[in-house]
């Protein structure tokens, strides 16, 4: 695929949390690039730093967290070091975000109309009347029936799926260039998830915005993303375009994940899954060397001492591993 202009570039981002028990390096040198109109899938398990990196982009890291290094270049400007007021103007207007729990992400004491309108009024020079019409139009756009009536309803009067549509309407209200979706469908039922995914795809195609699609679910990435970044313990361990990641995973972690997750096509049911051993390391006690080495079947002495660099292993496919796996394409996901 022809890559278009770069929209956002996260370079060697480091966001640490200084707690009583020690320093948690939630994001520890993460880099990724989002081009205009692209859907970038950022996958990883809990604690891999995917959400923290998104919050860092928006400048919403609270104490005891802090961005301690790296750059976030958005449309050519570094967001790290911008004043809160400058960041505020970008948030919700040029970069907006939707979250995992639509119930808690909406304020229970204001109507949904009010909450969407607020974003429009703050970023656009329109009258209340215009903002209200725009809000109703947005509610219709995201597939909420009877938008005029819904405008005056409170979040608790809506279902989970409808609330997530409200969140999307809010995020879309100022035609952002980048939408960050942080596990936006995780809390939803699978038939509702399908509706929301279709809605997001449709909106993305229509507006041409870029999407940073954060999830723990590899299957969603396969469906949504153009390019994929796999994160583990605050670092990117593998990246590439979606087909090469799913067809030729080279990092033992990506490979392990792909082959250990039950799917709907495998013939080998009722047999042991090729599971990844062990568990994600304790954030306060990262292993020496490659962070994946204690769980890696291919780990050698070197892996236990040295952290590998992210290296391009084939065209635009990067892997952080000394011993990248070589797999038969048909073997993965079967």
């Amino acid at each position: 695929m022809e890559k278009s202009e770069v929209l956002l570039e996260v370079k060697d981002l480091k966001t640490y949390f200084y707690t009583d028990d020690g320093v948690v390096k939630a994001v520890d040198g993460m880099s990724y690039t989002i081009h205009k109109g692209e859907v970038l899938g950022l996958v990883g398990e809990s604690g891999c730093g995917k959400s923290v990196s998104a919050m860092s982009i928006l400048g919403l890291i609270d104490v005891p967290g802090k961005i301690v290094g790296g750059e976030i270049i958005f449309k050519g400007e570094n967001l790290v070091g911008k004043t809160p007021e400058q960041l505020r103007k970008i948030r919700g207007a040029e970069i907006s975000m939707i979250f995992q729990e639509p119930m808690s992400a909406l304020n229970p004491v204001f109507t949904i109309g009010d909450q969407i309108m607020e974003a429009i009024l703050i970023h656009q020079d329109v009258s209340e009347e215009e903002a209200k019409n725009k809000t109703i139009e947005l509610l219709g756009l995201v597939g909420i029936p009877e938008p005029e009536r819904r405008f005056n309803q409170y979040p608790h009067e809506l279902s989970g799926g409808m609330r997530q549509r409200v969140m999307i309407a809010m995020a879309m209200s100022c035609n952002p260039d980048l939408l960050i979706s942080d596990e936006a469908t995780t809390a939803l039922d699978v038939t509702i998830q399908a509706q929301i995914l279709e809605l997001m795809k449709d909106l993305q195609k229509r507006t041409g915005m870029a999407v940073l699609f954060i999830t723990h679910d590899l299957a969603l990435v396969a469906e949504m993303a153009n390019s994929v970044y796999v994160a583990y313990t605050g670092k990117i361990v593998e990246s590439g375009d979606v087909v090469s990641i799913f067809r030729r995973p080279r990092h033992p972690y990506t490979y392990g994940l792909l082959s250990s997750i039950p799917n709907l096509v495998s013939e080998k049911t009722k047999t042991p899954l090729p599971a990844i051993e062990g568990m994600v390391p304790n954030p306060y006690h990262m292993p020496l060397g490659c962070h994946f080495n204690p769980r890696c079947p291919f780990a050698t002495e070197r892996c236990r001492k040295e952290m590998p660099e992210l290296a391009e292993i084939e065209n635009n496919h990067f892997v952080r591993c000394f011993h990248p796996v070589l797999v038969n394409e048909s073997e993965v996901v079967s």
Partner: protein
């Protein structure tokens, strides 16, 4: 077979971390709570030991020259209108006040835990009756109610005051315990215990109660301070611990009328009470933070 635990050794320290060891560790970080604990231990120790050291008896009347004397080397905190040594009375009063505070909280707690536990666990009729009754009791102002109780229950001893305060006090505890049981009984570990065949009484006492101790302990700690004030208020109004037995409250009863000529009578018992209650409040607050379930799973 993959042994999941092998990579977790870093997470498991050598020491077994029980809940209480974690709470203790956190409490030790809370400087004011630790200071309060020290203060409380000192206050209790002084009240116990004080009377043995003091050359006076709490009821020993002084001669006319010794009436209403300001603090001096002879009487460190002065004397009252009957010429009694204020410091000695403060020790005895402290014993009484602390005794009332602790025992009223303790007895209220036992009743409150039993009723709250069964009401919260089983729900139903018992729960409805209890809750309606507490609603009613909470709609009658505490102090007037205590006054009525204190004046209708015969006798004049310290234990009567303990009883009166406890009769009111169990309802708050019952509500807290009930609330804890209502939410904790929905926990999967309770369901798991049922699924295994554990009896209801074992679930109540062995599974749920230990998990609802945090707010009970906090409430009890704050309660001791609160009940010391209740006792003092009752005594001040003339319904509490009866003279000649001193309590911090009834030492203040007559102080109001002498305040223009003998302000020391106002300062010492009030200050003793204030410091003690303050310490209980800080300790309770520290315990609440240390036992915050959000910080611990």
């Amino acid at each position: 077979m993959a042994i999941d635990i092998t990579t977790s050794e870093e997470t498991l320290t050598g020491r077994i971390e029980t809940y209480w060891s974690i709470v203790g560790k956190r409490l030790r970080k809370h400087k004011l709570a630790m200071l309060s604990l020290v203060v409380l231990i000192l206050v209790i120790a002084i009240c116990i030991v004080g009377p043995f050291i003091s050359p006076y008896k709490f009821s020993e009347l002084g001669s006319i020259e010794e009436v209403l004397q300001p603090p001096s080397l002879r009487h460190w905190l002065g004397t009252d209108e009957l010429g009694r040594d204020v410091l000695t009375r403060l020790f005895y009063g402290g014993r009484v006040s602390l005794l009332v505070g602790f025992s009223s909280v303790f007895s209220a707690l036992i009743v409150g835990i039993i009723i709250g536990a069964y009401a919260g666990y089983y729900g139903g009729v018992l729960d409805t009756i209890l809750m309606r009754f507490t609603d009613i009791m909470f709609s009658i102002p505490v102090l007037p109610l205590l006054i009525v109780l204190a004046s209708v229950i015969p006798g004049a001893g310290v234990w009567k005051i303990v009883l009166v305060i406890a009769i009111f006090g169990w309802m708050t505890d019952a509500r807290i315990v009930r609330g804890m049981f209502l939410s904790l009984r929905e926990n999967e570990y309770v369901e798991a215990a049922k699924a295994v065949g554990v009896s209801n009484s074992r679930i109540i006492w062995r599974h749920i109660l230990p998990n609802s101790l945090a707010p009970i302990i906090v409430s009890a700690t704050l309660g001791v301070g609160g009940n010391i004030i209740y006792e003092a208020a009752l005594s001040y109004l003339g319904f509490g611990v009866m003279p000649p037995t001193p309590s911090w409250g009834n030492m203040l009863q007559n102080a109001q009328y002498a305040m223009a000529i003998a302000p020391w009578l106002v300062w010492s018992p009030g200050l003793a009470m204030f410091i003690t209650v303050l310490a209980f409040n800080y300790l309770g607050d520290g315990l609440r933070d240390a036992m915050d379930p959000r910080l611990y799973r």
